[in-house]
């Protein structure tokens, strides 16, 4: 902390930590909220299809919809087990 900051008493204060944490949580939760309702079921069915070929656990398939101004992208992430 610099000499000047000490007198201004502005640095590393807990309020700015709180604000940063909030911005992250709130952005994340808003993203989740805007996901279409069918997503969990889609994820479940994808899991079943993939399991016909590879054994994977539930958390290895991630589905998300990314909305842009002009289009939406369905993002599918499948992690395969190490061989």
């Amino acid at each position: 902390m610099s000499f000047l900051d000490y007198f201004k008493g502005k640095k590393n204060k807990s309020a700015s930590v709180a604000k940063e944490r909030l911005q992250i949580i709130v952005a994340h939760e808003r993203g989740q909220r805007e996901q279409p309702d069918y997503l969990p079921q889609l994820q479940q069915e994808l899991l079943e299809v993939i399991r016909k070929y590879v054994q994977i656990s539930d958390d290895m398939v991630q589905v998300e919809v990314d909305r842009n101004e002009s289009c939406s992208v369905l993002e599918l992430n499948v992690t395969l087990p190490e061989r």
Binding site: K13, A15, A18, R21, L22, V26, E29, R33
Partner: protein, 270 residues
């Protein structure tokens, strides 16, 4: 047609009931016929803050279930004669509030009242959903603190997707931020989120800032809505909020600490 205003927050204990009591009293004092409904079934706090706990005979659930008429259940305030209270039941299950039942009561109240203020219970479950479902406007009570701001954002999400207005595709519920228990000197020391921080995160219009004040507890001890403590900072801050709710322009006050003068600092060592 009444205007329906829900006072909501998600997080518990942030000042919803305090706010419901003061906002409804403020609206009524300006001559608007106002009823305040306690949706906190099972707890029942509003009648204590409004000093009418000994006059409760029938309650909201009795009316929904047809065991009493609205006129039998409504309690007329002794201080402001355009103000009525519909108390919550202390004994029933929260599920006694049904969408149809609540709608019936609200429709009947709409015929004679100008404003219906709904004091929501904490949480984002059934009781809170019932309180906000029919709202035209929402006062989102928030404390300058991480979990309260996060919960307020959740409630905003619910207002935008699960209210009647959202389900029917009508205009959105009009949202207002009411920041309560604000402590300007802690904000100035960097220990508390500022009004600007919370406004930036929640991104809804600011209805008012109510300072943290001992008067609030004093008033509630006596069963007095704090807005009737007309000389107090918290009372005046609520008065301003009511004026803004009615569309008046009021400058925000009580947002900076009263700087201690040199002498008081000398003598109090602060």
């Amino acid at each position: 047609m009444a205007r329906i205003i829900v006072v909501t927050s998600g997080k518990g204990g942030v000042g919803k009931t305090t706010t419901s009591a003061s906002i409804s009293t403020g609206l009524a004092k300006r001559g608007h016929k106002t009823v305040v409904i306690d949706f906190d079934v099972g707890l029942r706090n509003l009648d204590l803050i409004m000093n009418c706990e000994r006059r409760v005979v029938y309650d909201f659930v009795n009316v929904i279930q047809g065991e009493a008429s609205l006129n039998q259940a409504l309690i007329r305030d002794k201080r402001v004669d355009t103000l009525y209270i519909l108390p919550a039941s202390q004994t029933r299950e929260k599920e006694a509030l049904t969408k149809d039942g609540v709608e019936k009561v609200i429709n009947e109240l709409s015929e004679t009242f100008d404003y219906i203020v709904c004091d929501s219970p904490a949480g984002i479950e059934h009781g809170a959903l019932m309180a906000l479902y029919y709202a035209d406007e929402a006062i989102v009570v928030t404390n300058p603190e991480v979990s309260s701001v996060r919960d307020s954002d959740r409630i905003l999400g619910i207002l935008q997707s699960k209210s009647r207005r959202a389900e029917m595709g009508q205009d959105q519920v009009k949202e207002h931020l009411l920041l309560t228990r604000y402590n300007p000197s802690r904000v100035e020391k960097g220990e508390m989120l500022s009004v600007a921080d919370v406004e930036e995160i929640l991104a809804i219009p600011l209805l008012g800032v109510i300072p943290e004040s001992q008067i609030v507890l004093n008033a509630s001890n006596q069963g007095l809505p704090v807005i009737l403590e007309e000389d107090s900072d918290a009372g005046q801050a609520y008065e301003d909020a009511v004026a803004r709710l009615l569309g008046e322009e009021r400058e925000h006050r009580f947002m900076t600490s009263q700087k201690k003068g040199f002498f008081s600092r000398m003598f109090k060592g602060g």
